[in-house]
Amino acid sequence: MATKTYIEAIREGMRDEMARDERVIVMGEDVGVKGGVFKATEGLHKEFGEMRVIDTPLAESAIVGVAIGAAINGLLPIAEIQFQDFIMPAVDQIISEAAKIRYRSNNDFHVPMVVRAPFGGGVHGALYHSQSMEAMFCHIPGLKVVVPSTPHDAKGLLRAAIRDPDPVLYFEHKRAYRLIKGEVPEGDYVEPIGKARVVSEGSDIAIFTYGLMTHFCADAAEKLGADGFSCEVVDLRTLRPLDRAQIVASARKCGKVLVVQEANLAVSIASEVAAIVAEDCFEYLDAPVMRLGGPEIPGVPFSPPLEEFYMLTPAKIETELRKLAAY
């Protein structure tokens, strides 16, 4: 197996699917000739041509709207939103149209579309290039939301998203693009949507997380492991639908639960996981469910010290884990 970066795995995922199925197209701002601002689509334009790798105007509503139309008419579009922060103009298309078409048409139409968007902070992107807005979409029935944390999952989940008959939002942590490397198997493998992954098994504290935080949590868990506390790190991978069975199994096993996310906590993935644990694991709990996330302020700050304050780190996660271990 070859070791690849997270962004390479995403690029390969798109490339392999485009080669496998000519209905797959890519569209977005600067995804063609330039190969995307992060170079996620680099080389695709050259290999598959401008009919399948389409540079669009700077209009997210149009990108997603066109993708919905293409999807209904038999193509498998991958719409790239340059930064998740810019998805807002497309939200009406995503929620009012894509999410509802199958239901509204009584199964006559469906939208096999993927919307890719980089999210997350820690890259000095400030207010409009750092947000984590996944929770907003997870509230919407009719949407699937996946957030891979490793190159392996990035490729496997992207394949699953492209092949899924309904709209899937595929959120990539932009800091992970070149920071996270890992082995990516050869061949046509798919990681199923809706299944969490146990990163490391443990018996004292269950940590539920996703995206870049998966790596931070694994680091923090290792620190506690050195002191005899074993943490079970669970990468949720799919945020809607959540893998309830895995959440319940790990929470029951450990009895102590920490949910970690980069986004702020109010009405979030962490809220939902905590609710599931409260509903299904009450008798097994040995401590209050704890959540760790970003502060409740409107944006990730521009000032480097303030950004550092805002962002979670393995050390901050370790501090929370130690509180839970001591409880």
Binding site: D204, G255, K256, Y284, D286, K323, Y327
Partner: protein, 467 residues
């Protein structure tokens, strides 16, 4: 305003009830406290009073449905007044809070929902003074998380034996698991079931003074019965489903045997004089009181007098001491075709022989008709079992917890007996068998008690008050 009515807690250890009949149909006007449904449980039959005035709304369960305590049964619409201050259950059984589930831990003293807020975790990072202010402790200093409770229940752990390693000495799940491992390694051979039942029984035992302070009742707890030995069902075997009564009896008997070290002894009583007195008075008694004069009130009267002389037999074991009961509430075991029930003759020490006969007849009639009320089966201080009616001559009964002893009057049979002057005579003899809790009484008081009963019975004559 619509109010949802739930199945009340109809007595200790009752976990469910069957809606026997709806007394109010949808649309019927309902007064506050008016009976809306008949319910029967493994112990008693009762009527559920309405918590509000209004109009009967939807029946949420049909007649014949078994509903767990707390389960919703119906709605009452257009309630004009506030919900009655007392929960429906408290109208029937004072001193039992329906919000305390059967699963609550008596060690905890407070329901889980009322446990302190989960702030202590955050406090852990603060100064020690702050964290102790937010110490995760319940009313009795033991804050138990759901996981700890579950494990303690599962492994029959006495939590007082564990030193907590958590914040402010909280007992953690890990502490319990480590304790269980140590304990079970030390005692590898069996016994887990017994320990579980012991712990369960210990928790079920009422705390001292519970009766004196009905305003703060101990949470009712359903102890886990010892697990059954795994069995396989062969061809032709029939599995008879357990009725709530069967389950309750099984649970109670197991718990009693594991709670009290049972000692047993017996005396022979010459009932010839009682038999004669009874024969003489029988007709007149029936005419005056309308009930048959049986041997039971004679024995009951003698037992009550003996309990007055030997109060340690009319008592309850508590960890703080032996609680001597002031009243004699005499439990009378009544055999039913499908089980057993022990209605209680309250204030038996204040009744005449006729009063005892009438009250006993009333209780056993109502027991057989399934018409006992909650208060009829609670508060017994001593139990008398007339097994002789079934023809047995020597019985070893199981104590009705939390009482100190149970007395069995066996069959009266005519036997040749050596009497005064070494003559042999035909006498009506009866064995009186007592099972007593050896924690409370030794053989001496038990024997003295039996002899006291014996002497009273053997001294019955024409001057004995029967009316």
């Amino acid at each position: 305003m619509a109010v949802t009515v739930t199945m009340p807690q109809l007595g200790e250890s009752v976990t469910e009830g069957t809606i026997q009949a709806w007394l109010k149909q949808p649309g019927d006007p309902v007064e506050i406290y008016e009976s809306i449904a008949e319910v029967n449980t493994d112990k008693v039959n009762a009527e559920i009073p309405s918590p509000v005035a209004g109009t009967m709304g939807e029946h949420l369960v049909p007649e014949g449905t078994v509903v767990p305590v707390g389960g919703e049964i119906c709605r009452i619409e257009g309630a004009e007044v506030e919900v009655a201050a007392t929960h429906p259950a408290t109208a029937t059984t004072a001193g039992e809070s329906p919000s305390v589930t059967a699963d609550s831990f008596s060690a905890e003293g407070i329901p889980a929902a009322l446990a302190p807020e989960p702030v202590p975790v955050a406090a852990a990072a603060s100064s020690s003074q702050e964290s102790s202010a937010a110490a995760p402790q319940g009313a009795d200093g033991l804050h138990l998380t759901p996981a700890v409770r579950m494990l303690a229940r599962e492994h029959a752990v006495d939590l007082t034996q564990i030193t907590g390693s958590g914040i402010n000495g909280r007992i953690t799940k890990k502490d319990v698991l480590e304790y269980v491992q140590r304990r079970d390694t030390a005692q590898p051979a069996g016994g887990v079931a017994a320990r579980r039942a012991e712990a369960a029984a210990a928790q079920a035992a009422p705390p001292a003074g519970a009766a004196a302070t009905p305003a703060t009742p101990a949470p009712v707890r359903q102890p886990a019965p010892p697990p059954a030995v795994p069995v396989s069902q062969g061809a032709g075997d029939t599995l008879v489903a357990l009725t709530p009564m069967r389950r309750a009896i099984a649970e109670h008997m197991s718990r009693s045997v594991l709670t009290s070290p049972h000692a047993w002894t017996m005396v022979e009583v010459d009932m010839t004089r009682v038999a004669r007195a009874r024969a003489r008075a029988r007709e007149e008694f029936k005419r005056r009181h309308g009930v048959d004069l049986t041997f039971l009130p004679f024995v009951a009267k003698a037992v009550i007098a003996a309990l007055r002389r030997h109060p340690s037999l009319n008592a309850t074991w508590t960890d703080d001491g032996v609680l001597l009961r002031n009243d004699v509430n005499l439990g009378l075991a009544v055999a039913l075709e499908d089980g057993l029930v022990v209605p209680v003759l309250k204030g038996a020490d204040r009744l005449s022989m006729a009063g005892l006969a009438l009250a006993a007849q009333d209780l056993s009639d109502r027991a057989r008709a399934g018409r006992l009320r909650i208060e009829d089966v609670e508060g017994g201080t001593f139990t008398l079992n007339n097994a002789g009616a079934l023809g047995t001559v020597m019985s070893q009964a199981i104590i009705n917890q939390p009482q100190a002893a149970i007395l069995v009057m066996d069959a009266i049979v005519k036997r040749p007996v050596v009497v005064e002057g070494d003559a042999i005579a035909v006498r009506s003899m009866m064995n009186l068998c007592i099972s007593f809790d050896h924690r409370i009484n030794d053989g001496l008081p038990a024997a003295r008690f039996l002899h006291s009963v014996k002497e009273t019975l053997e001294a019955v004559d024409d001057s004995t008050e029967l009316w």
